[in-house]
């Protein structure tokens, strides 16, 4: 893939829609299934991924010319691990309130496929600003996916949204359990694909 010719806006919207990490790329499914039980979890993990993705993308884009191609994957892992550790420590030291909520999510990130994949396919071939916007798009795309899943699962599983009781009862406890994550992801992926088909058909008709 040569260096991108997309504008910044296209890079961001690309991450949210065309290449949404969860629904289109089907990457990072473990958190998508495991953590997306509530909207709040989705937002927290989304923010954490956003920061790590942006920082790692920028770092790799900046040092891409110095990385020996044979060791690029270990370098990516190291970069991500370093940023995760740094963010974790800084949060714990200077933002204890935020750390209480986000601490466990930040530590989860090292193993996320989406970040490594973005470094491999995008950041190591593009400039720092383009990687920055791509990271923002991917981060928000991931957050959007997690929140959408969390919304459905929290509403159906616990009858609440963001902890507020909206239904007054628990319709289907099953939706909170990990297995329901697969169903939700599957159904939403189908919806995304359907929308794409409809969109393409309209464009062709024009």
């Amino acid at each position: 893939m040569p260096a991108t010719t997309k504008t910044n806006f296209e890079l961001v919207s690309n991450g949210i829609l065309n290449e949404n990490p969860i629904f289109r790329l089907a990457l990072s499914m473990c958190p998508a299934v495991g953590i997306s039980t509530t909207v709040m979890n989705g937002i927290m993990l989304g923010i954490a991924v956003l920061f790590v993705q942006v920082f790692s993308s920028c770092t790799i884009a900046a040092i891409k010319n110095y990385i020996h191609p044979r060791i690029r994957i270990p370098t990516y892992t190291l970069t991500i691990a370093t940023w995760v550790t740094v963010i974790d420590l800084v949060l714990a030291a200077y933002m204890p309130a935020a750390y209480k909520e986000m601490g466990i999510f930040v530590k989860l990130i090292v193993a996320f496929a989406i970040i490594t994949m973005r470094l491999e396919t995008f950041a190591c071939k593009n400039s720092v600003p383009a990687s920055f916007w791509d990271g923002i798009g991917m981060g928000f795309g991931f957050m959007f996916g997690m929140v959408a899943l969390g919304f459905v699962r929290e509403l159906l599983g616990m009858g609440t949204i963001l902890g507020y009781d909206v239904l007054g009862f628990r319709p289907l406890l099953f939706f909170v359990l990990p297995a329901a994550g697969f169903f939700c992801v599957g159904i939403m992926m189908a919806m995304f694909n359907y929308m794409e088909i409809v969109y393409n058909r309209k464009r062709r008709a024009r």
Binding site: I67, I71, T75, L78, A81, T82, A93, P96, G157, V176
Partner: protein
Amino acid sequence: MKQIIRITVGLTVSCLIAALVMGSVFVITDKAKKHNEHVDVQETVLGLLGYTKSHPAPSDLKLYSLYRYILTDADTSTLGYVLPVLKGDGVGYQLMVMDLDGQFIHQYPLDMTPEKASEAAERSSALQEVVKPPKTFVYADATIVAKLGKKRLAYLLPGEFPGFKTFIHVMLALDPSFEILGLEITEQEEDPGLGAEIKQDYFKNQFKGKSFEKVKDLHVVKEPLPDEYKAYLESKKAKASPIPEGEVEAIRSRYQDKDIYALTGATISSKAVTDGVKNMVAKFAYRINRLDTVISSRHIPVAF
């Protein structure tokens, strides 16, 4: 060959850079992090004793920590308590060793200030001065004694026990007659929406007010939580209490001797917490009684 060297050097250099970055961030943030953890424990303790920002703790409330160590010498194990003792106007520390049957063996003064005593590493180095090899010591647990004026107000026990997935860390507050004053879940990784509900008021507040006798025989019942009881348990959180003034006391006494109502879909987590608390209370009551017997018979001028 050239390739191998380049790869090796490249990997080593990137590892070194990463280590350097992580290490320096750790060094910079370590102090603030420790401070935050300390503040966090303090807040949990005060919260359990019923003090909040709008209702601050009185100035004569003092918190003393005692630490239990297990000392081993060849095959025999003894218990070592690091106790805060009165020394002039301040607080000093001494190590009191007793055997497993509660018989006093020896006591050693320790050269520590209260600030140093709260650091595990500082305690270890102070203990190394008096516990000479081949004797070894292992940290067991800590207890915080809250003292108001000259009276003991409460014991605060940090503890952990296995939950459904991993260990659940809690802080338990007991009054001097071992009645439960409160329970706080400090760390847990149970399933969100199911086991994680143990940290909700309507579960953890059920333990509040259970007497020592009741706790010894505490069980989990798989019955739905009655609405009025739930409203009572959550009344602290609600801005306007939905329960009329006069009824609060009636509801409290009605449910005081009831067992713990299990969480829907999380019986194992509910049971784990109940059994864990039961265990902590029973063991602690046994230990503190033995400790107090020795302290009073040897006239150790303890601070708590």
